[in-house]
């Protein structure tokens, strides 16, 4: 790791120029909880490390037009401390807060979690279910793209070589909305998801589902948006038939691998079960009951 240059640009334009100047040998740094591990293990060999945290706003959270803008480099700890965000998007917050230990939370960001592109990244299904939009800066200005279009395979993204993810936009929440993320790990802390499932719903006043998004993680090369699973809930009151249809849609969408953490059959079954449970927690939250608060792992 010796001889690596470190720079901390004060603007995104400088960060982009630095990426271009490094010609493929530059790596962006947010919290470093993936990058430093990879550098130490020799899997990443950058000549220049470009620290994003000096770019104004990139490590902060703000409210805008009733929604939220989460800076790509904002830490998990900061996200967990944000009252407004916890209230509006408890599923996104619980997913972000599942990443690693207290120490890792002090640094790990949603931008790093998405761009590292692990199929098991915990915050990604929750962001997809939430309908979060990425704000991406490049040499020709800014563009926006839904989170589900960013990962393209393990360790791969659709971002250009000179693009920087700046923020996630979470829309304003309609009344009677709720979200949830559940993951299965063999112990209670500090492990990689065998399966993750996130659900975000909006209900009408009597409690019928009027919109739903379902996303699953660790069961395919990237986190997946399962539109058919969302449709299975819409129009229902979360009755057994709707939930069985949701489970079936999730099971069909799963394309997992078998490894020491779980077989294909096990992962597929668990994904369906977690999606059902997450849907019920999201519904309870949408109805304003907090009894499911913090019911993760």
């Amino acid at each position: 790791m010796s001889g690596v240059e470190y720079i901390s640009p004060g603007t995104v334009a400088e960060a982009i120029s630095a990426l271009q100047a490094a010609g493929g040998n530059g790596r962006l740094l947010a919290g470093g909880t993936d990058l430093l591990v990879q550098m130490r293990g020799g899997r990443a060999k950058p000549k220049v490390v470009i620290d994003l945290k000096g770019i104004p706003g990139i490590a902060a959270i703000r409210e805008e037009a009733g929604g939220f803008i989460i800076g790509a480099a904002a830490s998990g700890a900061l996200i967990g401390e944000h009252e407004g965000l916890r209230k509006a998007w408890p599923g996104v917050v619980e997913a972000a807060n599942l990443i690693g230990s207290t120490q890792v939370q002090g640094r790990a960001s949603l931008g790093g979690n998405l761009c590292n592109a692990s199929p098991a990244a915990d915050s990604v299904p929750a962001l997809i279910a939430a309908g979060a939009i990425c704000v991406i800066a490049g040499p020709n200005g800014q563009r926006e793209a839904p989170v589900e279009t960013i990962q393209s395979g393990p360790g791969k993204t659709t971002l250009g070589k000179d693009e920087v993810l700046m923020a996630f936009k979470l829309p304003k929440r309609p009344a009677h909305s709720g979200d949830a993320y559940l993951r299965l790990i063999p112990r209670t802390e500090m492990d990689i998801a065998v399966v993750g499932a996130a659900v975000s719903v909006t209900l009408d006043a009597p409690g019928k589902c009027i919109s739903a998004r379902v996303s699953i993680g660790a069961v395919a090369p990237t986190a997946l948006l399962v539109e058919t699973a969302g449709s299975a809930l819409v129009g229902s009151s979360f009755d057994d038939v709707a939930l069985a249809n949701l489970e079936a849609a999730v099971a069909v969408a799963c394309k997992p691998i078998s490894d020491k953490r779980g077989t294909i059959e096990y992962r597929t079954k668990v994904a369906a079960v977690l999606a059902r449970r997450a849907a019920l927690i999201a519904r309870d939250r949408a109805q304003g009951s907090d009894r499911a608060q913090g019911a993760a792992s």
Binding site: M1, V4, S8, D51, S101
Partner: protein, 162 residues
Amino acid sequence: MSRTVVNAIVNGEPVAFLGGGGQSLLDALRDELRLTGTKEGCGTGDCGACSVIVDGRLVCACLMLAPEAEGKRIETIEGLADNGHLHPLQHQFLEQAALQCGFCTPGLLMASKALLDRNPDPTETEVRYWLAGNICRCTGYDKVVRAVMDAAADLRQEEKPR
């Protein structure tokens, strides 16, 4: 040269050291500043032996680059005792024999300090979750958790206006 001068405040004292993009804060603390109380167990964020507090946040010093420390306030184990007076956490770790080889202890103490700084009255469950990133291979965790709970009580007692 890819190393530059980094200015930071370590345990209340302004310091300057040479740091580069290939060097962790842990290496800088141990090799440049000779503060060897902070330990390296894994170097990959898994064990917590390198825990330090940076601008009030608990982090793994092995997962932060040395030049990122520019302008930051860093607390390490060397700053925990106050002029030779042990911190209540240190006192309780000794009292309750919450260490054997002691390799994990600086990290556990800094992690526990970060907890009590923001939550003076944690539940046992909160202590156990907060410390889940600190691994101890010899003592086990029950004595550690008891020491933290008792140190928290000691600190609350000290804070009480008399």
